[in-house]
Symmetry: C2
Subunit: 218 residues, 2 copies
Amino acid sequence: MTLEPFFQSISLLKRLSASERQRLAEVSREKRYAKGEAVFRQGDPAEAVCIVKEGRVHLMKFHDEGQASTTCVMTPGEIFCCLPALDRKPYPVDAIAAVDSIIVRIPTTSFHELLQKNPAFLEASLCLFCERLRQVENQSCMVYDSVERRLAQVLLTLSEKFGPTIPLTKHELAEMANTTVETTIRILSHLKKQGAIKSSRGSTTIVKPDMLRDLASS
Amino acid sequence: MTLEPFFQSISLLKRLSASERQRLAEVSREKRYAKGEAVFRQGDPAEAVCIVKEGRVHLMKFHDEGQASTTCVMTPGEIFCCLPALDRKPYPVDAIAAVDSIIVRIPTTSFHELLQKNPAFLEASLCLFCERLRQVENQSCMVYDSVERRLAQVLLTLSEKFGPTIPLTKHELAEMANTTVETTIRILSHLKKQGAIKSSRGSTTIVKPDMLRDLASS
DNA sequence: AAGATTCTATGATGCACCTCATAGACGTGC
DNA sequence: GCACGTCTATGAGGTGCATCATAGAATCTT
């Protein structure tokens, strides 16, 4: 069971020739992570570029006193931490399996070689990279908005990935909005009363996206 | 008065051959900006990569109700907004001259051509991007911190650029720490009483960096 | 089935910070 | 010189949100 078919389904890796992809599949490894387990930690040397095959991985920062904030949620098919593959420096964040997950690990060295050899692949990687930078720059400006706005923003962003029903706990939403569970629940309760969302254990459903958009931008 | 000698002093442009640099100098233009004037605005099409020749430029985001936050301070010799030159998309932030400034504008198209032609130049540019991404990712983790910590962090970061005496007003410091002038002044007064800094109109001097480091990381 | 654990929910309290108001110090233009 | 704008400074008051406490509901464990 080679990884080649899986690699074919990843848009970034489509830029590779069949033989390049085949070779990459040979040196890459699949690995299981239990819920809560770290795929890598901030500061670890960058050994692998990762792709989510199954499950969900959160990129996060841990502060003192155990507070955590999630900067990005990676779902199946998504590739993460190309940055260390580019500059050969350590991972800038923690990557934690949010549920039991299967991750494909591509050795950084192999990835880096391909960047050097294949200009089309470099170009595509750069695009991904630029997107990420824009994403992060955008996030960093919303960080000082009110919690209500941040939450609306978070829900809208997640709905691009998951559709209207977002399969995250209130605690996970809180970590994305950089607030506490209690505050998150209070605000979501309020939004629920207004009919903007529905809420159940482990998931939140957007009913009126326009209402959230108003909140996020007003 | 060609721009070539100036370009020689910019480390990124040292990667170019003399003739490439000469050609770049011919198509680039110097432009003056008065204090408060915009070099470009968020969303503008990316016409030029910019280098500060004299003065100081702040990269910032404006929120509703006129609140502004400064994400980055660019000083002479620094090059900014290579990102749009890479992905050809609009500027992600506003660039405002914080004092009367002279900016050298390199046409995006010329810059982009060089990226394609000269691998060493591409490599160096990538390094700059990677650094920027890491910088931004780091900033975004300041979110959970108290204003005091954010301010300590801001002062330390700025002192890497300016040395111990930071020539910014309290208002500008406030914009960097994402807080108000009043709170900034209150906290700086406190730090002054403790002997960690000195403060005068339009500038703040770090006296005991270790004290700030303790604050920023404790 | 009973107990443990996680998730959701809501109230009470406190505080860090924003907002508004006032004022003196300093520089700038006329 | 005086008027004006900018910068610094400090007080009073209000509030958004964290923290702490409690508890019920859903799910997992054995």
